[in-house]
Every structure is written in C-alpha cells, then in structure tokens.
C-alpha cells in the first residue's frame, strides 16, 4: 500500500513537470489531460490517512501550478469580463471529466480563480453554492473529507478578502462554511463504519488522524464570527452546531468538536451560551465521556481566569447544578467519570471561589449520595485516585490551609472518607495528615477560640475515624507518628497559658481535651499512646486554674468554681489513667510503669495544690498498682525509689488523718520485703529520707531558715541501721562492702546538718564504727584476693542483668545503680566466666571508699566535726 501511494506520488510529480511545460506554452487542454491522470491518483482506495494526506499534498502542489497559471493569465493582467467568461467556460469544460473526483478538484480550482477575480459581475455566490452542492458527489469518507478540505482551503482567500458587509452576506458565508462543516462531519462519522467490524479500533485511530481536517473547517467558521457578535454565534451557529453534534451521535466527533469549540471561540461566548452546552450534554451518545467534555470546558474557564469579571461568577453555580442534576438522573454513571466530573468542578471552584468551601462540600455531597447507594465499603481505585488528587491541584498555594478548610467545612468529604474501606481511607488520610504536619504555620492555623472552631476538631476526628479501626500498630506507624505530632502541636498551641484569658476559654479547652479523649477512647492502642498526652495537658490546666485561684482570692464564686474544676480535672485524669490501665495488657511492664508514674506525678501535683485527699488517693492507687502488678524485683526496686522520691517532697499529707505516715509505712514495709538483699538494703536507706524533709526552693523554703516539721533523726538512724544489718548479711562480701560504703555516704549526708536545730542521732562514733567495719572488710577482701585466684562469685556477677542507667565506670567494670557489677570491655559477649576479674571488681568498693575518705578530708576545712572522723 505504501508502495502504491509512493508510485502515485511519483507519477503526480512527473506529470506536474509536463503540466508546467504545457502551461508555459499556453497548452491548457494538454495540461488538463495530465491533470486527469494526476487527479485519478486520488481515487486510490484503502490508503491510510497519512498516505492519503501525502498524496493530497502532492496533488495540491500540482493543482497550484494550474491555479497560478490561470490567475496570472486571466485575472492579474486586467480584470476584463471577457477573460472571466473564458474562465467560466473553463469551469464548464472541466466538468466533462468523466470521473467525479477529478472533475470536482478541477472545478474547485477553476472556481477559486474566478472567485479571486474580485469582479462585481462575478456570480460568486452561485459559484460557491455550485461547488459545495456538487461536492456531494463524493460520498467516500476519506476522499470526501479531503475534497471538502480542499474546498475549504481554496475558498479561504475569498472569505478573508471579502468581509461581509451586511448580515445577509454574513449569513451566506456562515451557511456555506457550516454546510461544508456538516458534510465533513458526516463523512468523518461514516468512516467509522467502513470495513469489517473487527477493525473498529483501527477506524477510530484513522479518524483521529484525520480530525484536523474537520477541526480546521470549524476554525474557519470561528473566524467568520466576530468576537462581539454573540447573537450570531448563539442563534445561528451554535444552534445548528449542537443539532449536528447530537444528530451525528458519534463519540469521537462529539468529544473532539466540543473541545475545538471551546478552544476557538472567545470566552464570553462560552459564558453566555453555557446553558445551551449543558443542555446538550445529556443528549450526546451514551459512550461519550461527558466528563472529558466538561473538563475541557472548565479548562477553558480556568485558562481564561483573568478575562472573567469577578461579578459574573454565576456560571460556577450553573456548572455545579448541571453536574448535580446530571448525576441524579444517571445513577449508574461510572464512578471513574463521576470523579473526573467532580474533579473539574472542584478545580473550577478553587480558582474562582477559593474561600468558598461550602460549594466544595456540596460537590462532595454528590459523591456521598452516590456512594451511599451502594452500602458496601468502596474500594474503587479511581475514587481513591480522585480523593488523593484533590489537594494536588496546582491552584492551591497553601495546601495545609486548604486541607484545614476542607476538613473544617466539608462534612461530606469526611463522610466519603468514612464510606471507603479502611485501607483506602488510610491511604488518603496519610498524605493529608502529612501535609498538615509539614506546615510551619501549624500554630497559625489552629487556634480554637470559640466553639465554632470545634467544627474543625470534630470533623478532623471524624475524618480520622478509620484510624480507630487500625489494629496492631505502635508509635512507629507513620499515621500515628504524624497524628501524634499533629495532636501534640494542637494541644501545645491550645493549652497554652498565653491563650487562656478567661474562664470561658478555660471551659472550651477542657471541652477540647475531652473531645479528643472521647475520640481516642475508641481504640486501646490510641488510648495508650495519646492519653498520657492528654493527661499532661490536664496537668497544665490544673496548674493554670490554681494560678487563677491564687490570683483572684477575694472572689468566692471564682474560688469555688476553680475548686470544683480542679476536682473535676483530677477525676478526668484518674479516669484516663484507669482507662489506659483497663484497656491494655496488664502484664506489660512498661505500661504498668507508665501508669505508676502517672499516678505518682498526679499525686505530686495535687499535693502541691494542697489537695491532700486527692493526693492521698493517687498515692494509694500507685501503691495498690505496685502491690498488684509490679512483681519483678528490678521494677519493684525502681518503683519504690520513685515513690520515695515523690513522697519525700509532699507537704500536704500531714493533716489530721496522717496520710503521710500511712503511706511511708507502706513504703518502708515494701522496701523491707524486696527479694534481693542489695535492693532491700538500698531501698531501706533511701527510706531514711522520708523522715528528713529538705527544702523546696520553689515554694519558698530555705534550708537555713525554714523550720521543717518532718525531720526525725531517730527514725533516720533506725533506717540506716536496718540497712546496715541487711548489708552485713549479704554473703557477697564485695557487694556487702560497697553497700556499707554507700550507707557511710548516707550517714555523712545526715551528719552534715545535724549541727543545727534538729536532733541528730548520727554520731561521730557511729560513723567511725562504720568506717572501721568497712576497713576490716576491705582488708579481708584483699587477703582473699591474693590467695584465691579464681573466685567463684565473678561468674555470678557477669551473669547478672545489665541496666544502662547511672553507671560508674571503673576501668573495665561498671557498677549500676542497683548495685550489680557489669563487665565493661570490648569482648563483652565472650564467655567471661573464666577470666580473673576479682582484682578489678575489688577496685569498685576500694575506689568508692577512697573517694569518700577524700570527701571527709575536704570537709574538715568547712566543718570541724569532720576532724573527728577517723579514716
């Protein structure tokens, strides 16, 4: 086929040479004979559009020889009527051509020259009418299309040079071109139905290859209609155009021609005629992608944004109403196309009404209604794609703000998210959340200052509802990570003393946290991750209320109100902690530890607010938790230390019920029950501090000036003695020795202030006795070390459990706070049982003792009493 078309082109070129020669010698008739050969090549069947187009170009070039010959010989010399008559005779003469296609090409060629004569006597209209009428003889789609394209090209000059002066002239010109357009379209559509059915796709492709021919005819029409002449456009052109489009009932044609229409005519035409367009869309072929046409239309509006006056924005509503109406009538419209339609609408509204989220909400309502028809969870990739792309619109310059408003104002968007299946909705949530968290303006976006702002929060949480149904996740899950970041920021911004100006706002903030709390309560994992965050913010609020209460002392109402609120807040906290406890695995040591600390911290805060009842309650809960759930020795020891530290600082528990005593007795009792002797020993000497209050400078206490109620030297000594007994009873004499040195340090600590008002039962003698005891033990250790190379205890040491906290590094060995020795060298993993480390282990108590001695010597300069300590 390529070959035959190439042969044809070669023939045309050869003939064109002869034609040129004949015409140089004025042998017109001979040249016409050549043309008959040339033009017959266009009758070749079954050529691909591209090949036919090449052929057409060759013929076009060839015919232009004739055209310019005729023009220079009959027109340009001088416009004399006789010459025109000769041309008209020629016009008749060429019609003797027996084949219709060559005949028409020649007619049009000669006709175009006659039209160019510009003579008033030339019957231009009749000629035009004749050419277009006779062109009906070509019913073959491809050949017909090209012939009419030729007609269009050949008449182009005429229409460009003869601008219609009257409306009638204009109507004639329009009719001519419209007629040609219509026929071209018919032929174009007919091409689809040529050949066997299985080649349908091939035909479609061929048609697309040819679309430019018909498109150019439409462009010609657009050039005839002046940009101010909307009446003609609407009443004459568009009416017929739309009619033709509906009649041809062809997908490719309808889609392409609408697109061209949108592109070539001015914007104000489209605005004014929008209604006509929209009315037509439902009448198009059912296979037509309405959304594609719609998208093209909207693209036109978007591109021409600057041309549209701000006061004429009704069209956005019109477009919306169309989509709404259309989709309500076409309930089975494919979701893919539906999404595309909505996407266009959203883009349009973002451009023209960037702050109006009301309409975007309405757009999502359409989608929502559609999805509700199908109650099962949606998992449509197009839908997800669409939802993912909403924020990717290039016209959104502030994405976080867009999402913020989207979530705040578009309840229907959120409903859609909730209709999706879980995986899909999370896919959409993640990038949005990410975008919201990316924002460096996060705090600008989210100050919730009145109850309206809660819409955002409520919607936001509803938007996140799919997260609630997540299973098995932890804090490293990206969504949780982002959510944590976001919620944290949200709380940080809102629960901020700066923003708390009055009680009303206070209520709002409480409500705010409670909303969050309610939402998180839907998922145990979330409870665990987020409740501590909420609790800390409750703490903040408590501090603030207390602050407020202290400031406004003379108003009883406020004081009462504050007290009630405080109570309430502590109840919320209690509830939160209990929820964390109840909804999670109680064997999880870390969880229990967390809860324990939350209790202690809350107790401590309430103590600071002098709410002894509350404080006692939280302490007792923490102790209960200890008793019931902290069962391993190490956490037990840790927990007790925390408890002791916390209790030591309390100030409110000394009232009539003597809560303090109850609590510390419990504490000491648990300390003495610890399984490991070293833990027991340490816990007990820590307990000694419970009878020895120290200054808390933040509440104005001063070691020198303040009289501390709770300093009981006798009890302190009891504890230390008890502790020493335990240390002494430990078989591991290195450890025992170390513990004694620690107790010595405690003794020195309590010894220092005993020069003042308080009874000190730590006497010099006692210290000296202790030092003596230590020295004896150390000596016996050294002796042991020199006689026995391989002491059996070091294997035990190296097997003990490590903890990385508070390590004292002594050469290659460390001692942790719980008193265990940990081997510290590069070969840690190697079996160290056989290594002789006794020497190094011994260094721990030795060096500790040495440091203690150094301290005592240093203190001698300050405090005379230290001189009496014998080292």
């Amino acid at each position: 086929m390529v070959e035959s078309s190439q042969n044809a082109i070669n023939l045309i070129k050869k003939q064109s040479v002869s034609i040129s020669k004949f015409l140089e010698n004025d042998k017109l008739m001979e040249s016409l004979k050549c043309y008959s050969l040339v033009l017959n090549q266009l009758r070749l069947g079954h050529l691909k559009p591209k090949q036919y187009y090449e052929l057409y170009l060759a013929v076009f070039d060839s015919l232009s020889i004739l055209k310019s010959y005729l023009y220079s010989n009959f027109i340009s010399i001088d416009s004399n009527a006789n010459k025109i008559n000769q041309l008209q005779d020629l016009y008749e003469l060429v019609q003797y051509s027996g084949n219709v296609l060559p005949r028409l090409y020649l007619m049009i060629t000669v006709g175009s020259v006659i039209l160019a004569s510009n003579d008033e006597s030339t019957p231009s209209r009749e000629l035009l009418k004749d050419m277009i009428e006779m062109s009906r003889g070509i019913q073959n789609p491809t050949r017909g299309l090209f012939l009419r394209y030729y007609l269009s090209q050949m008449t182009n000059d005429y229409f460009n040079n003869n601008h219609p002066s009257t409306k009638e002239d204009l109507l004639f010109d329009l009719e001519f071109n419209f007629n040609n357009f219509t026929e071209m379209n018919k032929l174009w559509v007919r091409l689809q139905h040529q050949g066997p059915l299985r080649e349908r796709d091939l035909r479609s492709q061929e048609r697309i290859d040819l679309k430019i021919l018909i498109g150019s005819q439409l462009v010609k029409l657009s050039q005839l209609i002046d940009a101010n002449n909307w009446d003609i456009y609407n009443d004459v052109f568009l009416k017929n155009f739309l009619l033709q489009l509906i009649q041809c009932n062809d997908k490719i044609s309808q889609e392409y021609l609408f697109d061209v229409l949108f592109q070539i005519f001015p914007l104000n035409f489209h605005l004014k005629s929008l209604n006509s367009y929209l009315k037509t869309l439902p009448d198009l072929n059912s296979s037509v992608s309405i959304d594609l046409i719609f998208k093209n239309l909207i693209s036109k509006f978007i591109i021409s944004k600057d041309e549209i006056e701000k006061n004429s924005l009704d069209f956005t509503m019109e477009l919306f109403n169309f989509v709404d109406q259309f989709l309500s009538e076409n309930k089975d419209y494919p979701i893919e196309n539906l999404c595309s339609l909505l996407n266009s609408l959203i883009a349009l509204n973002l451009i023209y009404k960037p702050s109006d989220f009301h309409i975007i909400d309405k757009i999502f309502n359409i989608l929502n209604l559609r999805l509700e028809l199908n109650p099962k969870k949606e998992k449509d990739t197009h839908l997800i794609e669409f939802l993912l792309c909403i924020g990717l619109n290039e016209y959104i310059d502030d994405k976080p703000n867009f999402y913020y408003n989207l979530i705040k104002c578009c309840g229907n968007f959120i409903n859609v998210i909730n209709i999706l299946d879980n995986d899909s909705s999370l896919k959409i949530i993640l990038p949005i959340l990410n975008e919201l968290c990316q924002s460096n303006k996060l705090d600008n976006i989210i100050p919730l200052n009145d109850s309206n702002d809660f819409n955002f929060l409520r919607n936001f949480l509803k938007f996140l509802n799919p997260v609630l149904s997540l299973n098995d996740f932890d804090i490293s899950n990206p969504i949780i990570e982002l959510l944590l970041k976001f919620i944290n920021q949200l709380l940080f911004v809102n629960i901020n003393i700066k923003h708390l100006r009055n009680l009303k706002q206070l209520n709002l903030k409480i409500e705010f946290i409670l909303i969050l709390k309610n939402w998180f309560s839907g998922n145990p994992n979330l409870i665990r991750i987020f409740y501590p965050l909420l609790i800390t913010n409750f703490w903040k609020l408590i501090r603030y209320i207390d602050h407020l209460k202290c400031k406004i002392k003379n108003n009883e109402n406020i004081t009462e109100y504050c007290e009630n609120q405080l109570k309430q807040l502590f109840k919320y906290i209690s509830r939160c902690i209990n929820d964390i406890f109840n909804y999670n695995d109680k064997t999880d040591i870390e969880l229990i530890d967390l809860i324990f600390k939350l209790f202690l911290q809350t107790a401590s805060i309430s103590d600071q607010l002098m709410l002894n009842e509350v404080s006692y309650d939280f302490y007792s809960q923490s102790i209960t938790l200890y008793e019931e759930y902290i069962v391993d020795s190490t956490p037990q020891f840790q927990a007790l230390i925390y408890l002791i530290q916390s209790l030591q600082k309390t100030r409110s528990l000394y009232s009539e019920e003597n809560y303090y005593n109850i609590l510390i007795l419990k504490c000491i009792s648990h300390s003495t029950k610890l399984l490991k002797k070293n833990d027991q020993c340490r816990a007990v000497y820590y307990c000694s501090h419970l009878w020895w209050q120290t200054e808390i400078s933040s509440i104005g206490e001063n070691e020198e000036l303040t009289k501390f109620d709770n300093r009981n030297g006798k009890r302190v000594l009891e504890c230390l003695q008890r502790s020493l007994r335990v240390a002494d009873s430990i078989m591991d004499n290195v450890l025992s020795c170390e513990l004694m040195i620690e107790i010595l340090n405690r003794c020195l600590y309590f010894f220092i202030p005993s020069n003042s008002n308080y009874d000190s039962t730590i006497s010099i003698n006692y210290i000296n006795g202790l030092i003596e005891l230590i020295k004896v033990n150390l000596n016996s250790l050294k002796l042991q070390e020199s006689t026995i190379e391989n002491n059996q205890f070091d294997s035990r040491i190296s097997a003990s459990s490590p903890s990385s906290r508070g390590l004292d590094i002594v050469e290659d060995c460390v001692i942790s706070v719980d008193g265990n020795f940990i081997e510290y060298n590069k070969n840690f993993n190697k079996n160290s049982a056989s290594l002789s480390k006794t020497n190094q282990l011994l260094q721990v108590p030795l060096s500790h003792f040495n440091r203690t001695c150094e301290y005592i010597i240093e203190q001698r300069d300050i405090d005379e009493r230290f001189t009496m300590i014998i080292i």
Binding site: R43, E92, L93, Q95, Y96, G98, N99, V100, L101, R103, E133, M134, R136, G137, I138, Q139, N140, P141, R143, G144, K186, R190
Partner: protein, 352 residues
C-alpha cells in the same frame, strides 16, 4: 465507377457557398472502402435551397455523346444487408443504390430529378448550375450501425453504355421549432418497463409513475428500489433536451444497504432498425458520466449535472424503417462489481 476503365468524363459537383458552410465530420464505418476514416460534409437544414454547379470535363477534347444530363437530389434510408428491413428492401427497386456498400437503400423518401441538358454531345467541358429551391428534408442525416439516413446530389450523364454519375453527399440537421419543442415538453414520456427483469434491474417499488402525469415543465421523477436493500428517488428537470442542453437532476437515497462503489449516469442511444416485428436493436453508450464516488447513507442527495454540448449525440428520430431513441441510464456499481441500473427515456432534439 471502375478503376480499370477511365471514365471519359469528369463530373464535379460544387455546392454554392460550400466553403463557408458548416461542415460535419462523419466517420466512415471500418468495413467500408472509403479512403479516409472521416468524411467531411456540408450541413444543410430543412427547407434550405440546395444549389450548385455541376461541371463536366471532357478528357483530351474527346467528344462525349450522351442521352441527356440530369441532376437528382436523393434522401435515402439504408439498411444493412440481411437485416430485418430487407423484406421491404427487396420489394423496392434495385436501382435504389446505397452510398454505403454494406447497406442498401430501403426507401428513398426524397428523389427529385431534372434534366440539365438534353441529349447531345459534349465537346468541351461545360458547367450546369442546378437549384433545388426550398427543398424540404424530411429526415435528419444519420449514420448508425445498421441504418443510415443519407442525402446526396447526383449528377448523371446518360449514355448508351454505362451512365456516368457522380454524387455529392451532404448532411442534414433538422432543428425543431420553438412550438415543436413546447409540444415535446408537454408530451408525457413513456417509461418503458423492461419485460425481463433481471436481478440487477431496479424494480419499481410501487406502481406509481409520476412521470406519466402530463404537465408542462414537470420533471421526470421516479421512485425505485430493491426491497430492504435500496430505495432511491431520482429526478431529472425535464424529459426532453436539446443537444446543447444540460441535464440537471438529483438522486435521493431513501434507503441504502448496498456497499456502493460508485454511481454513474450514462446516455444510451438505441437504434432500432427494420420494421417493428423484426427490428434489430443496437445500443451505444454515448456518454458515461460518474456522478458519485463512495457509498451514501440514507438521506443523501446526489446532484446530477451533465453538459450535453460537448458530446456527439444523436437526436431522437424515427420512421417506418428505424428509429433512434435516447435513454438516460442510472447505474449503481457495488463493491462486488454488481451493477444495478434503471433506464428512462429522454428525448433529444436539435435546437437552433
């Protein structure tokens, strides 16, 4: 005239104003013994005077005795020998001589003779003027396959032995008067239904023949088709055309399920020679004119415009021995090469 014997006398016939007169080139039939392929003849009209000068030249100053010199003007209908018309031909005189050797004259509808010179002796070359004044010519000259209509002037030198004669052919074109033309257009055109309907013949879907309804300037309309396959309506502006006319019409496709390759209009000249019972029909396609390329769909209208003046056409004519009729034939050729056609008779006439 024998080539072996040199005739003692040369006869030359010169018609008055022959040089300035219109001439027509008539092709000689390939089987004839004419020297050239075409023959040029002056053209005369009905009622025109045919006059001229016959010059008889004597060879070498010899005297030629004769029994008189006469001039005849002859109009003759010649039929091919052995054709259907021979029955009639033989009964008429053998002396009717045809100009075409393969044909013989069956009727001399015109034969006027008068003496130019009484019996005597020609001693030197002598010219005789002759004149057939306002000569009526009943038939148009025609040269067909089986039948000719020919006119000639014959000058005969009558001798005791063999007569010496010379003929001068001329051509006659008959022009219809305005009135005749008007009558012609009023006359209903008979659409002859072909008796043997072949598959390809387009049959009439309904009996209505609009064309038979006589009305002035009523166009020829015909509604034809093949059931569930093709249904077209065609229309010619009129049924009678002058030879310089343009046939204008249109074809309206009411239904088209054929895959049409192209469609053409042809003008067929049908010569029917001999008496009606045993006539010989010869069709010749005078024009073949493609009017459509490709396959139209329902609702398409295809225009027809055919200029006649560029073609050599024969106007309708007829007499007892033959007639010439013209038909417009619409031919549709489908992609499988099948032809579907419909003929309708039109009248062609010569108009001044």
């Amino acid at each position: 005239m024998s080539i072996f014997f040199k005739a003692p006398i040369d006869i030359e016939i010169l018609l008055d104003g022959e040089e300035s007169r219109n001439h027509i080139e008539v092709s000689n039939p390939s089987g004839s013994n004419a020297k050239t392929l075409t023959e040029s003849m002056p053209v005369f009209e009905d009622g025109e005077t045919v006059s001229g000068i016959a010059t008889l030249r004597v060879r070498d100053g010899k005297r030629v005795e004769h029994a008189g010199i006469k001039v005849s003007i002859v109009g003759s209908i010649d039929l091919i020998k052995g054709s259907g018309g021979s029955n009639g031909g033989t009964t008429t005189s053998n002396s009717f001589k045809s100009v075409d050797s393969r044909k013989k004259s069956v009727e001399q509808f015109l034969c006027l003779t008068y003496d130019l010179c009484p019996a005597g002796e020609l001693q030197h070359s002598q010219s005789f003027p002759f004149n057939f004044k306002n000569l009526p010519k009943r038939h148009e000259s025609y040269k067909g396959k089986n039948v000719d209509v020919s006119y000639y002037v014959k000058v005969t030198l009558i001798r005791k032995g063999a007569d010496i004669s010379k003929i001068k052919k001329f051509w006659v074109n008959l022009y219809l008067s305005q009135k005749e033309i008007e009558n012609l257009n009023k006359k209903p055109v008979a659409i002859r239904e072909e008796a043997n309907k072949t598959r390809e013949e387009i049959t009439k879907p309904n009996a209505e023949e609009e064309s038979l309804i006589s009305n002035e300037s009523k166009p020829v309309k015909l509604d034809i088709g093949i059931e569930n396959c093709l249904h077209i309506e065609f229309e010619y502006a009129k049924s009678a055309y002058s030879l310089k006319d343009v046939i204008v019409g249109r074809i309206y496709f009411l239904l088209s399920r054929l895959k049409i390759k192209h469609m053409e209009v042809s003008l067929i000249t049908r010569e029917s020679a001999g008496v009606s019972s045993a006539s010989t029909l010869v069709d010749s396609t005078a024009i073949r004119y493609e009017i459509m390329d490709g396959s139209p769909v329902k609702g398409e209208t295809i225009p027809i415009r055919l200029f006649l003046s560029g073609y050599e056409l024969t106007p309708n004519m007829g007499c007892n021995y033959f007639n010439v009729k013209n038909y417009l034939s619409l031919v549709i050729i489908d992609e499988d090469g099948r032809r579907y056609f419909k003929q309708s008779e039109i009248t062609l006439y010569r108009q001044k």
